[in-house]
Amino acid sequence: MLENRRFVIIGFFAIVGLIYLLRLFYLQVLDESYSIESSSNSIKRVIEIPFRGQIYDRKGKLIVYNTPVYDLLVTPYKARVDDTLRFCQVLGIERHDFDSLMAAASAYSRVKPSLFLRQLSKEDFASIQDIMVDYGGFEFAKSSLRTYTAPTLANTLGYVSEITKTQLEKQEEPYYRQSDYIGQSGIEKIYENELRGKRGTKFVMQNVAGVYKGSWKNGELDTMAVAGENLYTGIDLDVQQYADSLMVNKVGSVVAIEPKTGKIISMVSAPTYDPNILASRYFSKNFAALVRNPYKPLFNRPVMASYRPGSTFKLIQALIGLQEGVITPGSGFTHANCPMHCHNHPATGTVALGVMHSCNPYFYNVFRRLIYKNNIQNTFRASAVGLDNWHDRISKFGIGQRLGIDLPSEYKGNLPDKKYYDRFYGEYRWKFSNIYSLSIGEGELLITPLKMANVAAIIANRGYFYTPHVIHGIGDKKVINPDYLVRHETGVDAHNFEPVIEGMIGAVEGGTARRSKVEGIEIAGKTGTSQNKRGDDSSIFIAFAPVDDPKIAIAVFVEYAGAGGSAAAPIANLVIEKYLTGKVTNKALEERMLKADFMSKVVLPGQKKPIPADTTKKKPATPVKPATPVKPTAVNKPVALNR
């Protein structure tokens, strides 16, 4: 009887054996997830971060390159720090920093290395390398840091920093990983894909402690890291730094363009900062300080700041007037029948003289003729049709639209059309008398320094422009974005430019900008004073030179500096001379401009506007009448006082 129990027992053994076989078959053959986990466990992908592309100036000088730095990694379970005090001293950190860094590393993983200190310079590395041998569990990893040859161009170049959480989540193709670096603004952002290069991937085997155990499959799946593409700019680093020095203690912009190509020669956004401070381990501290700075050094003024163009806009009015045939080069206007005030100047019997003396009534009349050119009887309807026609003409100059420069956040500006005023007044309920402040570049017009530099380039070219761009060559083959090879016509014939240019030469030789003329170089320029409700007006000057074969077109904006001739014109002319001849002859003017401080006049948000007596007191060099608006304009803004 009991013998038969052996069958039960053997049966039991067999059932257990069968269950185990089925379980093993499921684990090993059917369920794939374990082999995947196995590779993620022991096969580690080591990412090799390539060097970012370097950036060169027009003479082949390096602007941005990479410096090798060292990250200090810690593997918490291996970490042996017996003498914490000395350790902290060596690394220059506080005891509580040490504790929190250590805790963070342990929280991430006890067995995997995590970042302890980032971006130690080569010098720091050399000095602590030997000492670190005493402390187990610490290792160095090579990485690189953006380095800038000169403390300039901060906003144009932009900065690189660790990818943010939102960027990480929003990326379209999953390329970046946590703690990767990415271009956050400027050229670094726009050309991120070209600059970043190609990451290399190595598959290595590691043990449970994350210790390297050789390459996997002899490295047949590994890919090499490819360094990023180098970028070639039209920036002249010497001129750029010179312009920087002139803009010290001023708020504003300098934009210089090579008219024949659209290459940016110089782009100053003042006040600026040394880009190197954002490429260091103190990034967050420095960045926070820049964000808090009331003068907004991170605001890229050449493409983002908006101003009214002021008198510089009269150039475009004259050009359109000539092209439309409402005036001829010999047309003259007096101050009669004009609601605008003007200063005392010789009679303006020609377009050239009108431009030279920047006569407000002159351009009031030009604009009036442009608006009422059509023969519609109803002035409301005539104004509407005339404005749209005018709008189309002006748009060709890039006003009121993005030019398409290779920098982020370009401001569109504002060029009002019929629709725009209809929103305020209703259709056919406004006419020329409501909008005439546009004639002298005030009212609702908004432009950026870049646009005005481009206008200077258009005049220099006598009718066309290439989209301004910082980068004209990508990689060794110097590939250029085809958009920057398109010639944009403005629809104004070349011969119509001559009277305007003649007026601009006059302005520099004996007009509003005469005190900043440069001996030996024929410069054509136009001052402008952009009204500022908050304080002193902004000083504007656009110019190009030499007149016969323009090599540089420039726009200078200095906020709170008053009339165009006071600050903007001297700075522009000094930069032009520096660019064309490599030296500066008018040392006194240079000295004055270097020392000039318009920063103190800046009215910061929250500050009270200075009492009117101060605002009206212009620079003694250019005595002008106080702004006393006769009639409020349609938008209740005081009528511009333009020079």
């Binding site: 027992i9 054996g17 053959v29 082999s35």
Partner: protein
């Protein structure tokens, strides 16, 4: 007498071959487990576990020769004395033992350590066999005949528990198999297994589902029951059993949730669900499953395993040696190992059944049961079907004590079996 015939003629070569196959596969996998691609040591290098295991195999061979040479009657005659010696060693180790891995269960002799607990299985097997060899003793009829058996098992079990070797103690559960064969009523192991199963199921699933399932099964049983059985009380018996089971389910649930503290509950849960604590206790099981699962059908190849080699699996040459087999040789390898074990224990049962003496038969079942229990728990834990209990896989795991004790255990039986033609039937 034919007793002069060489032992080689009568020994069961099938068992010997399986034994040697296990040793060879085990040794190769120990080498693979400790193999370090950077420091390539030879399989014969005494500085690594593979080399040492080879030495243990060599010494085991010497032991086996001794066992085969000694007269077979020695083991039966001296079984209680061997038992007493082992008990003495177990007591000794409590006071003079060296502490290795948190358990005071090792006796150090020079560079090597021995674990008396490993030999307690042999001693208890011999003692039980000796006790049951008395034909007057019947496990079917007399309850008092169980008391000495309980005593024989409980004494070393208690001593082993004191020296913190819970795993070795649990092995004594394997004697249930031999007791069942010798007449213990079948409901006792059945109840034991059902209880264990219910306990585990209760912890893993929602109690209402289990209760529902039990009711459905009870209903099915009653429905399929012959009408006569149903009338004779089968109906009520089934209903009562179902109620008791549901009671256990709710009792366990109540105990878990209301009596135990939260951290105590966590410790029990992790035994059943390693994913609930992947970096702690669950780590072993998860890594072991990954290692085995990543082997696929044919495995990654000899010395190509990454999980076991790079220390993801703990104890990879001892308790988790099966992971190396699974990772490097895939399902093909693991199936061979499972077949070897099932073949070995089945063969042992067959051999035991052909013994003429009750002593030999009981002993044979003891050997089969012990090896089976190790197989069940060790492989079960590596594939996540059993909680992690640190007991070795016989003949595979690295370790002198376990190799010696299993070899002695097995070959004493082979020696007795070889003498079978000359033994008179007594039981």
């Amino acid at each position: 007498m034919a007793e002069n015939k060489p032992i080689t003629k009568n020994v069961d070569w099938m068992v010997v071959l399986i034994y040697m196959a296990c040793l060879a596969i085990g040794w190769i996998n120990i080498y693979a487990a400790v193999y370090n691609p950077e420091v390539r040591t030879s399989m014969f290098d005494l500085s690594n576990n593979a080399g040492k295991q080879l030495m243990w195999i060599g010494t085991a061979a010497l032991l086996i020769i001794c066992i085969l040479v000694i007269d077979y009657k020695f083991y039966e005659t001296f079984s209680f004395i061997i038992y007493a010696v082992v008990i003495l060693l177990l007591v000794m180790v409590l006071f003079a033992g060296s502490n290795i891995n948190g358990s005071r269960s090792w006796i150090k002799i020079g560079a090597f350590s021995l674990q008396p607990a490993e030999f307690s299985k042999l001693a208890v097997s011999l003692a039980i066999s000796k006790y049951l060899s008395d034909p007057a003793i019947s496990l079917t009829r007399k309850l008092k005949d169980y008391y000495p058996i309980i005593g024989i098992i409980a004494l070393p079990a208690f001593l082993i528990l004191l020296s913190n070797e819970t795993g070795s103690m649990l092995v004594f559960a394997s004697f249930a198999i031999v007791l069942y064969r010798e007449g213990m009523p079948g409901f006792i192991p059945a109840i034991g297994m059902v209880m264990a199963a219910l306990l585990i199921i209760t912890l893993l699933f929602v109690k209402w589902y289990i209760a529902g399932t039990i009711i459905v099964i009870a209903g099915l049983v009653i429905w399929l029951m012959p009408v006569m059985t149903r009338r004779r009380g089968g109906l009520w018996a089934t209903i009562i059993i179902a109620f008791v089971m549901i009671g256990i389910v709710f009792g366990v649930d109540f105990f878990m949730n209301n009596v135990l503290q939260k951290h105590q509950r966590g410790r029990i849960m992790v035994l059943l669900d390693p994913d609930s604590d992947p970096r702690g206790i669950g780590w072993n099981v998860i890594q072991s499953k990954i290692a085995i699962g990543s082997g696929g059908f044919t495995g990654k190849g000899f010395l190509q395993g990454t999980q076991t080699k790079f220390d993801f699996v703990p104890e990879q040459s001892t308790d988790f040696i099966f992971c190396t087999v699974g990772e490097e040789h895939g399902f093909a390898g693991t199936a061979v190992v499972v077949f070897l074990f099932i073949a070995l224990i089945s063969r042992l049962v067959v051999l035991a059944e052909r013994q003429r003496s009750r002593f030999a038969r009981v002993y044979g079942y003891c050997v089969a049961g012990i090896i089976f229990f190790h197989f069940l728990v060790n492989i079960g834990m590596t594939i996540g079907l059993m909680p992690v209990i640190g007991i070795p896989l016989p003949f595979f795991s690295y370790g002198g004590s376990s190799l010696w004790s299993f070899s002695i255990l097995l070959f004493i039986f082979l020696k007795i079996d070889a003498q079978r033609p000359f033994t008179l039937s007594r039981g």
